[in-house]
Symmetry: C2
Subunit: 374 residues, 2 copies
């Protein structure tokens, strides 16, 4: 079986670290010749996954085509499907998720809980919209990721920073916690749900600050979060691996923030903390294998390794001895030669018996370990 | 830091699967252009690790040079050490271990328990040796591995199959169990001992049939096995990662069978069963990092995936769905295109709460999963 992945960054690299244990041939299509997956010989094609012809050519000798980034040429995937290839997730699912406006409509149509919204074509339409009230969230319909393309407009003074692009406008909701559920589904409709994880964000860089698994929430809320996630995936009606990002509100209700139709940053701890990781689930989905079990072995927490906000150049890692001396602590660097302000260079997962133990390790790591330019 | 590894087979591949998480540059020297490590671009040099010039050229831009096979050019490693490179393990350790005669002398000199022996230069010397008595074990002094180069001569009728090469001759000892200890040691003399594992052999192919971790033996015997292993490594007086293979005799005494100065087949289950695997320990030793902890998470067992004894050709794996449907079951194929009778194509590790659970899984796997030629 030949599997093709559009994108060849760190998600592809972590997928491949596990996937080479199986008897399948895997290839990545990626424009950056130095990307994280470029270390895999005969598995790395330099090319643009946004370009129709590049994707078509890449896919022609593959049996299954999937993604590790959403922002791909969907028309080419439709044509490849016409040629008899399996596309996972479906091109329609990708179309839906690439456009945050369609994504919101989809929740509404399927009675899936999400915050109220309206869409606008441009700045002018927004400023004159009858439903305009402060504060609100502006999300670009296409192209946003990792918190980019999302901003909160607090009051009329902030209006100058409004983007002049097609956007989703949402009310600001009273968020108690950000939750995340990784869920896989194979062609037989069998699905496998990971336990709910919880995120704490760094407000400056808007990247995950640290991630706690399992989330510290009532079982009742956990079940609600899992149920919503299962309903989302059933409504999407495609095999794949997904991350359903959720908000727990002050009134303990749970609503959907957004979906990623792929492995996700918040699933990194599953590599060590679960019996089958999100990357292993992805492989199983693509090869249409039984999904197996994804039980949690221990509590875990994860921090991203982020480029120093003031440095750019050849990456150097400081404090690796301190980090490595901690028990059950796992460094994952993504093989990026150059560090830039805020660039995700890797992550660290820690396991432990309880929250206190792992948060103590996380704090120690944050104080000792960093990436700088040489 | 640039790390060079002599050999690029499956042990190197599993090392690399973990090592790419760290910020070091790694290269392999390997004569087979299709070997397991050949998938790693810019990290794979085709060349003969037995050849002086090849090893010298390979090592000249490296900071640390190590091995994943013993059978390498030691003179070149000595020269590289003269040039200021770190060689792990030391060339002297490799010389000692490559020659089973020197290895046995070393145990004797260091008062380390091992079976009685004498050495002979050839068949003639053996047949006329005053200590000759049946049954005995003949081991080639150099070149044996994976059970090859070892035979038992039961009686005078077997004498025709005696090898005409420099050999170690040992008495046959009454073996109750075969045990194995993986142990790492860094430059600071810090060492880290994995729990004792136990092996059951397939008498036909003389390869590990299944491996059980931890071994089912008294704590007292475990401690003896670990103590002997620590003493061996201290006597070798070099950083490295080692496998000390031991025999538990009928009288419950423990003796050394032999040492491998590298990661080892019997350490494969540490990938999933221990908080830091033998491959992670190897990386830590080479980068002179703290060794961390290697605590066991759960019981484990491992079977090799061996080429069908009657088939040769492009490998095909039968029963992968059955295997994958078992919880906490991990397939590791080595990326070998061609299966041959008895060839190690991969391994499967299973985790579980107790021996009954994991042995049941192992038996199921053996009945369902196999490698054949297409």
């Amino acid at each position: 079986m030949k599997i093709g992945i559009l994108g060849g960054g760190q998600l592809g690299r972590m997928f491949m670290q596990n996937a080479i244990n199986y008897p399948y041939t895997i290839g990545f299509l990626e424009p950056d010749a130095e990307a994280s997956c470029s270390i895999f010989k005969n598995s790395f094609t330099v090319g643009d996954f946004k370009d129709y012809t590049s994707v078509l050519n890449f896919g022609k000798d593959k049996d299954v085509i999937s993604i590790e980034i959403e922002n791909v040429n969907v028309e080419a995937l439709k044509e490849l499907r016409n040629q008899g290839k399996k596309i996972i997730p479906s091109p329609e699912c990708l179309e839906l998720i690439k456009d945050k406006g369609l994504q919101k409509e989809f929740y509404k149509e399927n009675h899936l809980p999400s915050s109220d919204f309206y869409t606008v074509q441009n700045r002018n339409e927004l400023l004159n919209h009858p439903q305009l009230k402060y504060p609100f969230v502006q999300k670009l319909r296409v192209g946003g990721y990792d918190g980019k393309g999302v901003q909160i407009i607090k009051n009329a003074e902030d209006l100058q920073q409004v983007w002049d692009e097609p956007s989703v406008i949402e009310n600001v909701v009273p968020i108690k916690k950000e939750l995340s559920v990784i869920i896989s589904r194979n062609e037989n409709g069998e699905s496998c749900v990971f336990d709910v994880v919880e995120m704490v964000f760094d407000e400056t860089l808007n990247l995950v600050d640290y991630l706690l698994s399992p989330a510290e929430i009532d079982d009742k809320i956990k079940n609600v979060a899992k149920d919503i996630s299962i309903k989302v995936i059933e409504a999407l009606n495609t095999p794949g691996i997904f991350c359903v990002e959720l908000f727990l509100l002050e009134d303990d209700s749970v609503i959907i923030n957004e979906i990623a139709p792929r492995v996700h940053n918040s699933g990194h701890p599953t590599i060590e903390a679960n019996s089958s990781s999100q990357y292993d689930q992805m492989l199983r989905v693509l090869a249409n294998l039984p999904l197996g079990d994804v039980c949690i072995r221990e509590c875990s927490a994860m921090v991203n390794v982020i480029g120093d906000p003031k440095q750019e150049g050849e990456a150097e890692y400081v404090g690796i001895e301190d980090l490595i001396s901690l028990p059950q602590t796992y460094l994952h660097l993504y093989g990026k030669r150059i560090t830039k302000p805020g660039r995700k260079m890797g992550h660290v997962t820690v396991l432990g018996k309880n929250k206190e133990e792992i948060v103590e390790k996380i704090n120690f790591i944050k104080s000792k370990f960093k990436v700088i330019a040489q």
